[in-house]
């Protein structure tokens, strides 16, 4: 199961107390994080014929960034219910897909770049709560 990048979320929460920032060595997060809403960062890989996470769990209304890289051939990452997709997920180069889920439930994400005999089974579930 994919989780939101934990250190980053902790840091974002701690930013509520400005005095703690420097002491924790989180200066790199400060200005940008203070200016941005909380973000759900999903980091994953894909290869023939599986995503490293078969499930992704996120919260409704909070921006999601999926950072994905292929370990072999070009793949896709598409979430039709939210009308978002990567143009193509290339090997060795991270692709970022950004969206904000506006409804709860279980939704499919899938590869929409034909990648071989197991292409039709390359998919996972996005849970929005």
């Amino acid at each position: 199961m994919a989780k939101i990048d934990a250190p980053r979320r902790r840091a974002l929460r701690l930013l509520g107390g400005a005095g703690a920032v420097g002491a924790l060595g989180l200066a790199g997060y400060t200005a940008a994080a203070l200016a941005q809403p909380e973000e759900q960062h999903i980091k994953m890989t894909v290869k023939r014929f599986e995503y490293s996470q078969k499930e992704i769990h996120v919260k409704k209304g909070i921006p999601v960034v999926v950072e994905i890289v292929s370990l072999d051939v070009p793949h896709g990452f598409s979430v039709p219910d939210f009308h978002v997709r990567a143009e193509v997920v290339m090997p060795g180069k991270p692709t970022f897909i950004r969206f904000t889920p506006d409804k709860t439930g279980e939704f499919l994400y899938l590869c929409d770049v034909f990648c071989g005999t197991g292409h039709e089974a390359l998919e996972g579930s996005l849970f929005v709560t």
Binding site: P74, L108, V113, F114, G116, T117
Partner: protein, 296 residues
């Protein structure tokens, strides 16, 4: 044997599919006495090279379908294969072997006027290289008895797109057609978003539909979804063909697009090919669905 609707109704009776006639548009068969009338056959998704439980008769199904097409009387004037002639493989040599075997098998068709377009299983892993070697260009046009046929490739680009270059090619071709020309469009994937969660769509399909929309008499035939399906986008009908290897479930009818199970009590159920008959002076076509083999 003369070309009359009765002949084909007789075949349907023999085939045990008398009720499986889909008439697109106004009811009734075309006026076969009209010299300009003709019919052609659409075959699709044979996936030559596939092995698995969804079709334990995979090595013979295509051959049986070809025998059924050869039994049509009169013979169709041409045949179109709308993609996935072969099942995908990572091995370029094996891909060519399958294409060579497929080509040899379909050479048994009595009708020698045959057109091919690729499916993603044929073309997406090598951008259509092997397909082109065996079957020629992946997009082309031809004219036959007053109908303008356009074949386009939405699979050689693995992102399931026609791409700008092909869309420009289409624009140039359409510019030469009158707005009331009778146009038939062949492609593999659906042009419209039939079921994107099952990858049953074409990324720039809507752009192509927009290009076709000004033309009054356009009909689209495609494959990919392994079942008969009919849909309208505005005035343009889209007709999907059955497969010749295994059927897939109705769009969105189950969580996953897994093949329907082989039924030993009714082998080849859900598989077949279709006749496409021009209508005398009409704008549309009459479609007749046929099983792989005659029943009973």
């Amino acid at each position: 044997m003369s070309h009359s609707p009765l002949d084909r109704r007789q075949f349907l009776k023999l085939a045990g599919v008398g009720g499986a006639v889909f008439v697109s548009g106004l009811p009734g068969f075309a006026n076969a006495q009209n010299a300009q009338d003709f019919y052609f056959v659409q075959m699709s998704d044979s996936h030559w090279g596939f092995e698995g439980a969804p079709n334990p008769d995979a090595k013979l199904t295509l051959k049986k379908a070809i025998a059924s097409v050869n039994a049509l009387s009169p013979a169709p004037e041409f045949i179109i294969f709308t993609g996935d002639l072969t099942h995908t493989t990572d091995d370029p040599a094996e891909r060519r072997k399958r294409m060579g075997e497929f080509k040899e098998i379909v050479s048994e068709l009595k009708v020698k006027n045959i057109h091919f377009i690729p499916g993603e299983h044929d073309a997406s892993l090598d951008r259509g290289k092997a397909f082109t070697e065996f079957f020629g260009p992946t997009n082309y046009t031809f004219d036959y008895k007053g109908v303008h046929f356009i074949a386009m490739d939405n699979v050689s680009d693995p992102t399931a797109s026609f791409g700008e270059e092909q869309r420009n090619w289409l624009a140039a071709d359409l510019a030469k057609q009158s707005k009331d020309a009778r146009i038939v469009f062949f492609t593999h994937r659906p042009l419209f978003d039939l079921q994107p969660s099952w990858d049953w769509a074409t990324r720039d399909g809507a752009q192509v539909i927009d290009m076709l929309m000004p033309y009054q008499n356009v009909t689209v035939f495609y494959g990919h979804i392994h079942q008969e399906h009919h849909h309208m986008t505005g005035h343009i009908p889209h007709h999907a063909a059955k497969s010749l290897i295994f059927p897939l479930p109705a769009p969105g009818s189950q969580p996953k697009r897994t093949p329907l199970a082989w039924n030993p009590a009714a082998p080849y159920s859900g598989l077949g090919f279709r006749e496409i008959q021009t209508k005398a002076g009409g704008k549309d076509f009459d479609l007749t669905e046929f099983p792989v083999v005659k029943q009973g």
